[in-house]
Point group: C2
Chain length 530, copies 2
Amino acid sequence: MQNGSVIKRRDLLALIGTIAGSSAMYHAMTSLGFASESAYRGPLKLEGNPKGASVLILGAGLAGMTAALELRKAGYKVHILEFNSRPGGRNWTIRGGDSFVELGGFKQTCEFEQGLYINPGPWRIPYHHRALLDYCRRLNVTLEPFIQLNHNAYMHATRAFNGKPQRIRSIKADFRGQVSELLAKVTQQGKLDEAVSKEDQEILLQSLRTWGALDRDYKYSANLNASEFRGYARDPGGGLSADPLPSDPISLSDLLRSQLWRYLQAFSRYNFQTTMFQPVGGMDMIGKAFAREVGDLIRFNAKVTQIQQNGSGVTVSYVDTNNPAGVQQAAADWCICTIPLPILSQLPIDVGTPMKNAIDSLPYAASVKVGLQFRRRFWEEDEAIYGGVSFTDLPIRQIGYPNYDFNRNGRGILLGGYLYEGANSFEFTAMTPAERVKSAVEFGAMIHPQYKDEFETGVAVAWHRVPFTLGCAGEWTDAGRAQHYRNLCQIDGRILLAGEHASDLPAWQEGAILSSLDAITRLHERVVKT
Amino acid sequence: MQNGSVIKRRDLLALIGTIAGSSAMYHAMTSLGFASESAYRGPLKLEGNPKGASVLILGAGLAGMTAALELRKAGYKVHILEFNSRPGGRNWTIRGGDSFVELGGFKQTCEFEQGLYINPGPWRIPYHHRALLDYCRRLNVTLEPFIQLNHNAYMHATRAFNGKPQRIRSIKADFRGQVSELLAKVTQQGKLDEAVSKEDQEILLQSLRTWGALDRDYKYSANLNASEFRGYARDPGGGLSADPLPSDPISLSDLLRSQLWRYLQAFSRYNFQTTMFQPVGGMDMIGKAFAREVGDLIRFNAKVTQIQQNGSGVTVSYVDTNNPAGVQQAAADWCICTIPLPILSQLPIDVGTPMKNAIDSLPYAASVKVGLQFRRRFWEEDEAIYGGVSFTDLPIRQIGYPNYDFNRNGRGILLGGYLYEGANSFEFTAMTPAERVKSAVEFGAMIHPQYKDEFETGVAVAWHRVPFTLGCAGEWTDAGRAQHYRNLCQIDGRILLAGEHASDLPAWQEGAILSSLDAITRLHERVVKT
């Protein structure tokens, strides 16, 4: 934000503000990319006549339904083929009564209490995912905050602190405090004299004292000031039992060796910063909202078997999964294919070598999510943990607390494990669903001993065994992206790909939508030119 | 958490766990004060027979209604006198159609759209306010998250960055990054050799690189890694327009001199850490929930004029504010007085010198809150700010964004100023309500230029002019607390005081409730002994 081009834009904006008023200025700010850094520039306007062109869309996930919604609005004839019997794809919520079958034949039927759910796929929406948020607004999807950082949740390392989970607030405050004390010390010793001016050193010391909760002597120590960040041994109270007691900070060496500092960045990242959202009632409220608009265009239970094209159009073969004997065909002038690459790479498809190589090159991340129902919300009642995530080096990696029904009596669902990449994801994928649930309960009990008494039922989704994706999301390397990404996204004859795999936001719903908007914008340019 | 007594408790807990199972262990953990550091130990159990004793409670705020609810349950005869025509006291929400008069005679009638509101008093509930949260659960008050830290809100200093507001995420990431770079540099130069072992220095360098988003050379610089914390110049996107662009960090010197680091602690403090809450629909849902339980005990519009006691009971004189001619009297065996001290200090009250001095000693903080209605939610639409608070050195100090109706079209209410202590609070208190609103709009427009076009109507509450408190909350100094606090809380004959002023959580609703619970516990002990 400090570079020359921005300053020039600012001068321009000031001028616009002076001449035309603040609303015009803000409109200009948005147009100039000032107010938002997102690539999304508001509802898509496809100008020009598609002259009756038809588009066949493969997949009724968010990418496919975005394309359908916008292309129909622009005057195209649109149809969608969808493998599942529901819209949304990985935009998916599992509730009591739902059943699903994974590769290998294991069938799970969810036994959660009415009103409780787990999102096995995407579960959170960052504030800067402007396209997704705009569709939520336009399609009347009600949102509520998703808590990513909960200061009272835990960080846990098997080999640190005798395996006792530590409150995030304490690790966070202690790391900052210890670092501040160290830097204050070398500042006072004159060891920054080469790097920082004397005047700035004075302000630096003040800022470290404030920021790091240091005492008068620039020490981070057991006192009420440090406790006001890391938490107290006894909280302030009322009446004659009001006096608080300070807690004892963890030493720098213990902190460093615990490795718990590795988790501190998890909630500072752009994708995980406040304010995050989730749809009220489950992530699939978004897929359902899209389907209210374009559901009439979707043919469900349609398994694509071949994608052919020639100079005049595209022909897609598919079978009805309820009646797989007869192969059917659908044809259109153009095809937008959002089929996940682990599946698409197994299909015969008439595209050139660059796109085919790109399709075949991209591995998908292994990921497993486990949803566990408990008799009571012990994490709130016993431990004052409301939403957010605990981090652990156990194979389950994370425990996610529900961000709805806060502070109520009764049952609740934990995300009992969220494995992403790594050997443990493959190990859990290799297990039966029942084994995954059992294992998540056993590991989780090392953090929450109440698991043993309170656990009731669970489901486990291993994305490598989910028939409609065979993986969680595209796992690009820098080298793979440099070699294949643009070939994947180019129009190949009459075929375009879209989805999170064709974006620089892999695994995010925003990536799927922005990929789709970019693809249909380019398609439309070509159509109106010809 | 590292001291001897805790380790002993832990050994005991392990033993209980082994013998009696995890539920018994957790019950014991709570009893031993392990699971929660709060003074609150679950619903109050007052055992023993009060033998028909009566208690007159002055004030139907949270302290008074807590006392009424628990004492009636324990068998006391209870009555409440309340100055206002509504329950709750400072637990107060202003909606369209509400009107109120302040000292000086200014009457305001709120013209907010139906469904929109402002909480002029308390507006947030920390996760560790266990007593308040337990009452919310027991009284069926639905809660939703209150966003305190919004990374995309602003920090603003009039004399820094040419007065341009900076995104909190950038200041937060840059301060951490610059501090990490400095400390990494001196570590590499061997300047920590006296203070930190070589082995720990190695881990320290790794941790600073991760935590501070440093590059391979331990520099904090303009690259995609730093942007993943401070935000991008252009966000990652989809298709062929996917490439992100890094943003430029602010230099250490500019950061230090901006003084914006002063605000960084505002959301790390124990009282402001995630997860925070607000009641759905307005803070007064709590007062109303209490009133559903004890409303039948409240005499509204009762202005206390004198509090007398002798060896056998208490007699309180009051006037009906709608008919102030005749003085009435209420009598009981005991009195719990929750009247704010700026008012109580002006009343004749039969208590000893120590309590009277304590009552007279406590100044109340000056505070002003301004609620502003805007035609559209431009902070969300234009600036992607959903909830949370922007901080500024302008007299308005804070702009609070609504934590409800996220991402919807239509009107919204901003907290257009939250002044607490300081000269600006007194200046705003001295203005007429209309001047306060006008001033808040003018200052706010320096951060959000859209104010000028979008502002519709506002209300402003200056707590020093609110007739039922004459101040916002007790403002204890360490010296004042040492001299007077215990005298304020002791039972004086048949009179006890309760409220946030009689707690170590001044200005917090939890302080009022814990103070009340402590007071009635001591009262009950005395009653059952006699």
